[in-house]
């Protein structure tokens, strides 16, 4: 029983990887022909298990995509703690496996990457998280998608599908990107239903299934009927929502299988973008050291729609996605108030979607969000 579900999950991941990599392969063909010969070994390090319905699984999808590139061999190691052990595992991959590109996928690996990157100039270190700054080694990359954009799209679906006009957001930590995601979700919902409100709960932990389930239950008791969870693995959030008969949106990776009835859509990373760094390293091409972006730079994705979502809503969501892609829609634009009544942006003010400085400094929840950031003011 356990074995068969493992198999089907793995098969599912393979399929997902194959689908997503087809487009990338076609574009990269000329570079790949040159890179033939000795395969480039690419190593992935995960903090947990690969099939976690969350952060690690999103990276596993990318690993499958990158493994499909010709001239590339992918090696993976699970359960690597964010300690000196991570340094040892990276060095082991370099020295024993001959890895030339490493994807240490957890946020907490960054200090250990900085410790060894200069010692191994022949290796490219690609870190999931935009921590790279001027002066850091040239053979390191930080990359991260603007998840607030797909959250905005989830918000549109939520705003249209909610019968009560009450939606819910469960966040792990009081951090800027969680606030951005929450704001995206609320702004999206209110773009189609200006009366919609969103309950916000910050659990304080990346991984606390008990609190997450409690939050879902209490929200549903208060009439909330669409929920999204921003934690390491939103599996429990989505399953609990499904059991309570309400809608849910995914986070990190495609979680539609968890809620066959109530899944609307979800915000996904496109870590497969890392394939471009691998190709650049193989062909001695250029690469950015810091890459942040949303739909415009193909850094984020939208999960497939659940069957509950009618055609008209799908079209509306996809239209907004296109608007992000061609930059005609700005997530933050005036007039905008926070949920304490302060004017954040006046009419006509528009924050560029790639204004990292602004987005990294977001410490407020927008009007319509019910809850506190949990930060001291």
């Amino acid at each position: 029983m356990a074995g068969s579900s493992f198999d089907s999950r793995r098969r599912f991941l393979n399929e997902a990887g194959r689908f997503a990599s087809a487009a990338g392969l076609a574009a990269a063909w000329p570079a790949l022909v040159r890179a033939q010969g000795k395969p480039t070994t690419v190593g992935f390090l995960y903090t947990g298990v690969r099939q976690d319905y969350g952060w690690n699984q999103a990276h596993t999808v990318a690993a499958r995509q990158i493994g499909k590139l010709s001239g590339v061999k992918v090696l993976e190691q699970e359960n690597v703690p964010e300690t000196a052990e991570a340094e040892k595992v990276m060095e082991s991959m370099i020295r024993l496996d001959g890895a030339r590109v490493l994807f240490p996928t957890s946020f907490g690996y960054w200090p250990f990457i900085l410790k060894i990157a200069r010692r191994y100039p022949e290796v490219l270190f690609v870190h999931a998280g935009g921590l790279w700054k001027e002066g850091d080694p040239a053979n390191t990359i930080g990359y991260r998608g603007y998840m607030e954009e797909p959250h905005y799209l989830c918000g549109i679906a939520a705003g249209r599908m909610s019968k009560t006009g009450k939606i819910g957001f469960i966040g792990a930590k009081p951090l800027y990107f969680i606030f951005n995601n929450c704001n995206g979700f609320v702004l999206g919902a209110r773009s189609v239903n200006p009366k919609a409100t969103c309950q916000v709960v910050i659990t304080g932990d990346w991984n606390n299934p008990v609190k997450e389930a409690e939050a879902v239950n209490s929200m549903v008791d208060q009439g909330v009927d669409v929920i999204v969870g921003n934690c390491d693995s939103p599996k429990v959030v989505i399953e609990t929502a499904e059991r309570r008969g309400v809608y849910s949106c995914g986070y990190h990776t495609d979680l539609s299988a968890l809620a066959p009835k109530g899944f609307l859509t979800g915000a996904e990373w496109n870590w497969g973008k890392g394939a471009e760094f691998v190709r650049a390293w193989q062909t001695k091409g250029s690469y950015p050291n810091l890459l942040r972006g949303g739909f415009k730079r193909d850094m984020v994705k939208l999960s497939p729609f659940g069957k509950a979502v009618p055609q008209a809503v799908r079209a509306e969501v996809l239209k907004a996605r296109q608007a992000f892609a061609d930059d005609s829609l700005a997530l933050y634009h005036g007039p905008l108030r926070d949920n304490e009544g302060n004017m954040v942006l006046t009419a006509g003010q528009r924050i560029d979607n790639e204004d990292n400085k602004y987005k990294l400094g977001v410490k407020f929840l927008v009007e319509g969000a019910i809850g506190k950031t949990g930060l001291a003011r």
């Binding site: 090696l75 190691q77 300690t83 040892k88 082991s92 991959m93 020295r95 024993l96 496996d97 907490g108």
Partner: protein, 347 residues
């Protein structure tokens, strides 16, 4: 002399059997055992880098194995190395934070001493329960492991948590100057030297000192020891305290040489692997040095085996478990192999 050959041969036989059984396990998983063993060799011993990783793993194992071997001399089966290591690590951090501002060497020594004292006290508790109330020391030390880990989790997620580190639940860090570097030239931290020294010291103490002899008498026959007037209680506490101190020191070394702060990263099974090492070494402190190296190598190669064969992380633990069972089983062979039996009768 013959007895030593007997020990060596039986242990080697048990190891060979364990590897053969693990080979069957690999075959059942459609893997070629020879390929896997080649990778195990490469990852544990095959390159200078692998040796470094192995020695780094071996260092704490030597100390946690002593936590089994020293009380074993007094006839006690202590399996609380994991808890003593955790207690040592936590108290090392507390001492380091409390005593900030001392000269680096003094600070480091103080941190290590605090770790050893805490580990010693932890296992001595079980010794005291054994002597005063007759509580089985195996059960009490096993349960103390869970208590130590629960205390660690409580402390690092509340009272001593460093809230500046938001992505990880971890305690305050000890002052940077108290951290120690690697031993120059071999790239392994000083815990290795401490481990070897502790094993040597334990060997000398147990074989060539009066308290060591008294402990051995106690282990041989507690009633006889009592009849000749040995202080049973004090000897029990001494054996437990020294063993616990070794494991506590292992915890302190993890702090000063690796982590700098207490967190769940301390609980990685060094205490339990130490039990395996002590039994492989038949509780002989000198043999512990060698077997810590062997078991350290098996652990160090785990990641490489996982990557090359897509095996689960737990595969190396299956191998360790098989080794443990085979070695325990082989104890039944002592005195039953004919070629040694003759020699015994002669001696």
């Amino acid at each position: 002399m013959r007895a030593r050959v007997e020990t060596a041969l039986i242990t080697a036989g048990a190891l060979a059997l364990a590897f053969a059984l693990f080979g069957l396990f690999l075959l059942a998983n459609r893997l070629n055992p020879l390929e896997v063993y080649a990778i195990l060799w490469l990852g544990g011993f095959g390159t200078s880098f692998s040796l470094q990783a192995t020695l780094t793993q071996a260092a704490p194992l030597m100390l946690t194995a002593l936590c089994v071997a020293i009380p074993a001399r007094a006839g006690l089966l202590v399996i609380g190395g994991e808890g003593a290591l955790v207690a040592g690590g936590v108290c090392a951090v507390l001492a380091g934070v409390a005593a900030a501002g001392l000269p680096a060497a003094v600070g480091t020594a103080l941190v290590c001493a605090a770790g050893a004292a805490a580990g010693g006290a932890w296992i001595a508790m079980a010794g005291a329960l054994k002597h005063l109330r007759g509580v089985n020391e195996t059960i009490s030390t096993l349960l103390l492991n869970y208590i130590a880990i629960a205390l660690l989790n409580h402390l690092v997620s509340g009272p001593i948590r460093d809230h500046a580190v938001s992505l990880k639940v971890t305690s305050w860090s000890i002052p940077q100057p108290y951290m120690v570097d690697a031993i120059p030239g071999i790239g392994v931290h000083w815990g290795l030297a401490l481990g070897v020294l502790a094993c040597l010291a334990a060997y000398v103490l147990l074989r060539y000192s009066v308290p060591g002899f008294a402990i051995a008498v106690l282990g041989g026959n507690a009633r006889a020891a009592q009849l000749v007037g040995l202080p049973i209680g004090r000897l029990t506490l001494l054996a437990c305290g020294l063993g616990g101190a070794a494991a506590g020191l292992a915890g302190a070394v993890e702090i000063v040489a690796v982590h700098g702060a207490a967190s769940g990263s301390l609980v990685v099974g060094f205490g339990y692997a130490g039990i395996l090492v002590a039994f492989l070494a038949r509780q002989n402190p000198l043999a512990i040095v060698f077997f810590a190296f062997l078991v350290g190598g098996i652990s160090a190669s785990g990641g490489l085996m996982q990557r090359r064969f897509d095996m689960p992380d737990a595969a190396t633990q299956v191998l360790q478990g098989m080794i443990f069972l085979c070695v325990l089983g082989s104890n039944a062979l002592y005195g039953r192999v004919r070629m040694f039996r003759v020699a015994r009768a002669g001696a």
